[in-house]
């Protein structure tokens, strides 16, 4: 883990009052939130970094997991459409429809909208 002094040297922080050049001030303003986000790993002197405390006190352990992702995970796990490892979800949906298995239309619409995760549940984990 890098020590505090290394990080401080990397993100050059200048005093906000009387900022000499605009870009540098901008950099320092950008530096503090990013510093705050990784506060837990880089050991800063901020005790309760705001980024980690959200959702009314609950810890933010789920990353982009919501209702549509749940529907897609059920599609991944459904045995009727075959194995899901090593295929993108769109490819698996198209294979299912090509083989006449009638995959659910709403899953297809979700996948085509492109706002959801394209890879299956096990991608990168198995």
């Amino acid at each position: 883990m890098s020590s505090k002094s290394d990080v401080k040297g990397f993100y050059r922080q200048k005093k906000k009052s009387g900022g000499i050049t605009k870009p540098v001030a901008g950099k320092s303003a950008k530096a503090s939130p990013s510093l705050a986000k990784h506060a837990a790993t880089f050991g800063s002197n901020v005790v309760q970094p705001p980024a980690l405390v959200t959702h009314g006190g609950a810890l933010d352990l789920k990353d982009n997991y919501d209702g549509s992702e749940e529907v897609l995970r059920q599609f991944d796990m459904n045995m009727a459409y075959g194995p899901c490892i090593g295929m993108s979800r769109v490819a698996r949906w198209e294979r299912a429809s090509k083989l006449g298995l009638n995959p659910p239309g709403d899953v297809g619409m979700l996948l085509k909208s492109g706002k959801v995760g394209g890879e299956s549940l096990w991608d990168g984990r198995v």
Binding site: G82, P83, G86, M87, E94, K98, L99
Partner: protein, 441 residues
């Protein structure tokens, strides 16, 4: 002085319209994304199950169809799934690690079949062991999809009463009734570069095909040849050079000599007749089926002819409406290792009746892990179905229930037998073309 003018009539070679159908065997567009072979088995099961479900009502109309998990004891039903053959003698990598070093039974020299082999039917819900005398395990191999009629016994096995195979696929058009004889020459196993290949024999073959041999009658016969298909194993690269060590410059030239010989030969053929060359197990192409076409840069002089075509293995094409489908023989060799049969054409017939060219892929035959299709599934019945690099020449004409007619050809290795095969497209008759260089005086 009267000058006797002899009319020199040019004999013209006949021509046929060629149409390549190798697209499904090419893997340029495929990308490996960490998939496993379960994907290709899934695709195969679904393709064939849909097909078998449509055939079951005419076969056993009064019986219900269920999945393996839905089997109820003592109730007769029909199940559809992939066959798996458990073989005692099949070499398994886990045997090396097993703690008990029991005495392994002696393996027969030509295959791994044993009387204790049994079959299991598997679909995505489960698997069940098959019992009964209807199915003879030595007839089948792993990877075929069939429908079985029977019932579950108390012991948990499935007692088979009847079996339904997919049967010959529908044939598109019957072969056009050509008025004239047009011949296709098949040759395989030239094995140039090996000690068993006889250069004089090969040159005789090339000279005969190109019309440089024989009197006018012979030349007229040769002019009726419209296509040459080389079904694999054209080179044999000296194996002792490929041991992982750096090659000395003089060894490097030894490595490329067989290919250069093939190139010279192919130039002679391609200069006068359309030629298709397929890769075989010993050729410089990839190992897994479907083998990709041999690269053009291997044949610098013959590839410049537009009659030269480098094709995939398996190879599918159409000449004047007659459909051809064939391989360089790996599928049949693998089949032979795991089942019993009297001759190679019988294996060819079985694979066609099961509608799958290489059922043992990917179990024991190397195969690319396709995800959404199985290119070895035969959708449309060919008129000619061949396999190269076999031990001897064999041929059979089979007919299907819907009037399909298929000529099966087992092409022998040329380096061993000196025999090529000629097929007449007009009536699908087939005969051997042998060349000998030994004279017995």
């Amino acid at each position: 002085m009267a000058v006797m003018e002899e009319e020199q009539s040019d004999i013209e070679r006949k021509q046929s319209l060629y149409n390549s159908m190798d697209e499904e065997f090419k893997i340029q567009k495929e990308m490996y994304r960490g998939q496993q072979y379960s994907q290709i088995y899934f695709a195969r099961l679904h393709l064939m199950r849909t097909l078998l479900y449509s055939l079951v009502p005419t076969w056993k109309p009064h019986l219900p169809v269920c999945t393996v998990l839905g089997l109820e004891g003592d109730k007769e039903c029909v199940i559809v799934g992939t066959l798996y053959k458990h073989m005692k003698l099949k070499p398994c990598v886990l045997d090396e690690y097993s703690k008990e070093r029991s005495v392994t039974p002696l393996v027969q020299p030509h295959n791994f079949v044993h009387s204790d082999d049994y079959l299991i039917l598997e679909d995505e819900s489960g698997r069940v062991k098959l019992s009964g005398t209807t199915l003879s395990p030595s007839f089948y191999v792993t990877g075929i999809v069939v429908a079985l009629h029977g019932k579950e016994t108390g012991a948990g096995d499935f007692l088979v009463e009847d079996v339904l195979e997919a049967g010959l696929p529908p044939q598109l058009d019957p072969p056009n009734k050509l008025g004239e004889d047009k011949y296709v020459v098949f040759v395989s196993g030239l094995n140039l570069g090996s000690s068993s290949s006889n250069p004089l024999q090969v040159q005789l073959l090339v000279d005969h095909i190109t019309g440089h041999l024989g009197d006018e009658k012979e030349q007229n016969n040769a002019a009726q040849i419209v296509q040459v298909v080389i079904a694999g194993d054209s080179v044999e690269i000296p194996r002792e050079l490929l041991n992982g060590q750096n090659l000395a410059p003089k060894d490097q030239s030894r490595l490329s000599e067989p290919i250069k010989e093939v190139d010279i030969l192919l130039t002679q053929i391609a200069a006068s007749i359309p030629l298709d060359i397929m890769p075989g197990p010993n050729d410089p192409s990839n190992f897994a089926m479907p083998q990709q076409p041999l690269h053009r840069c291997l044949f610098p002089s013959s590839a410049s002819y537009n009659t030269f075509k480098s094709c995939t293995n398996p190879h599918s094409f159409e000449l004047d409406g007659v459909r051809f489908l064939g391989t360089s023989g790996q599928n049949i060799h693998d089949f032979e290792k795991y089942s019993e049969g009297s001759e190679e054409v019988e294996f060819l017939e079985r694979t066609l009746k099961w509608r799958h060219i290489a059922p043992t892929a990917p179990n024991t035959l190397g195969c690319y892990p396709f995800t959404d299709r199985d290119p070895f599934f035969v959708e449309s019945c060919p008129h000619v179905y061949f396999a190269g690099n076999q031990n001897k020449f064999g041929t059979r004409l089979i007919t299907g229930s819907d009037g399909q007619v298929v000529r099966l050809i087992s092409i022998p290795r040329f380096s061993k037998t000196g025999t090529a095969v000629m097929l007449n497209m007009r009536n699908l008759e087939c005969h051997a073309l042998s060349f000998g260089t030994e004279f017995s005086l």
